[in-house]
């Protein structure tokens, strides 16, 4: 299993959808509000090679209580700006749109982390700072130090998209199982 370390560089370009990796180093939490704030006020950290974590953690006294991934699709429309600024990796759950898949080409990857695994995440994380605390606990940009978080490359820098492949396959199986269904839902 490849062990990746932030900041990420060109090594992300060789990663393939379906590959499992571990990631260590600094990541920054960002949900809807943080994305909007960054687009308005600029990045509070250097975005070159940085990794965003779609997560609204529960943090008490700078200690991470739980920090599972949130649904990435909410950030679909807000991701182009991040990638243009040099973001090299995104961690979340559920995958992102076909538009984001194209935007990742040649520059960045999307990592899936297991939904609901809020404790596993917290056990491999240390909180080292915060930006935009005024956005509140869930929406602030927390600076987190990862220690070998196990991730799956779900969308690679070549248009590979594990979620889309699995979804298409599931529809084919369903059509074969119930051939009278003519329309794809």
């Amino acid at each position: 299993m490849k062990q990746l370390q932030t900041p990420l560089g060109d090594e992300v370009l060789s990663l393939k959808a379906g590959e499992m990796v571990t990631l260590s180093g600094t990541v920054y939490t960002a949900r809807d509000e943080a994305h909007l704030k960054i687009m308005e006020d600029g990045f509070p950290f250097d975005p070159k090679g940085a990794v965003l974590y779609h997560c609204g953690p529960v943090i008490a006294d700078n200690r991470i209580i739980v920090a599972g991934p949130t649904t990435s699709a909410r950030m679909n429309r807000l991701t182009g700006y991040m990638l243009d600024a040099g973001i090299r990796g995104i961690i979340g759950k559920g995958g992102m749109s076909a538009e984001v898949r194209e935007l990742l080409r040649g520059r960045a990857v999307y990592f899936a982390f297991t939904g609901g695994c809020a404790n596993l995440a917290a056990a491999r994380m240390k909180c080292t700072g915060v930006h935009f605390p005024e956005l509140g606990m869930a929406e602030a940009v927390w600076v987190i130090e990862l220690d070998k978080l196990p991730l799956t490359v779900a969308m690679d820098a070549h248009g590979g998209d594990l979620f889309a492949v699995i979804e298409d396959h599931a529809h084919e199986v369903f059509q074969a199982m119930y051939p009278t269904s003519t329309t794809r839902i």
């Binding site: 529960v58 759950k93 559920g94 995958g95 939904g115 609901g116 196990p150 799956t152 594990l162 699995i166």
Partner: protein, 278 residues
Amino acid sequence: MSESGYPDLLKRISDATEKAVRNAEIYLPDDVKARLTEALKVESVVVAKQELQNILENICLAEERFAPLCQDTGIPVMYITVPYGMTWTPEMEQAVLTGIQNATQHIPLRPNLVDPVSRENTKTNTGLSMPPVHVKHGDRFTITALPKGAGSENVSRIRMMNPSDKGNIPKFVVETMLEAGGRPCPPVILGVGIGGTFDVAASLAKEALLEPVDSMTGYEQEICDQVNQLGIGPMGLGGDTTCLAVKIKTAGCHTASLPVAVNIQCWAARRATVEVPL
């Protein structure tokens, strides 16, 4: 019961409620853990194995860290059994709500309950006619909490089918999961309610999630196998394990009607029961 005993009983009800919610949030039931462990043993896809390992490690860590399994601590759906001969009172219902408010503060839980239109948060997980408290008579006084997260609730479905379509019930269940894909955090448990009225079918589907997942009828197994053939896998990343169990509950219905509800439950199938001492 004496007059002085009543306030004590109300306190025991709110304490039992808080304990039921806490146990549900932190400890996954043994039967669900066993199904996840079995799934890991037979799973053939490497990525899916890793996902299941992460889930099992997370379950252990939640117990060790005494923290909720998932950051979406859900809406606590409550099921109460009251001993025969005892009257369920508005004060008892209030005691349950107090227990939920205490749990929200002490565990702590994410305050998830908002006004549906203004989206203003009540901050207590209670209020605005919520959460649901279902009361039945039984042998003992028990309080059961079923915290339900939004990811899996949002992709649940109900359909008023034609009675002649009864053969299409499995197709409807499989189709519901096909449409949901990885969004409800599979591997899932599917609660299916068949019959009743529009509202009863949905209640049955939710109640089915209270059933142990260590056995299935032939009909349930058949639907479960079909869902697993879709290959959605843990978190939608592919694999043999999409559905841990299908549980069906039925009720009589109008001769011209066939309501079918599918309530999807993520792998964090949380439920816990605490007895109220009398």
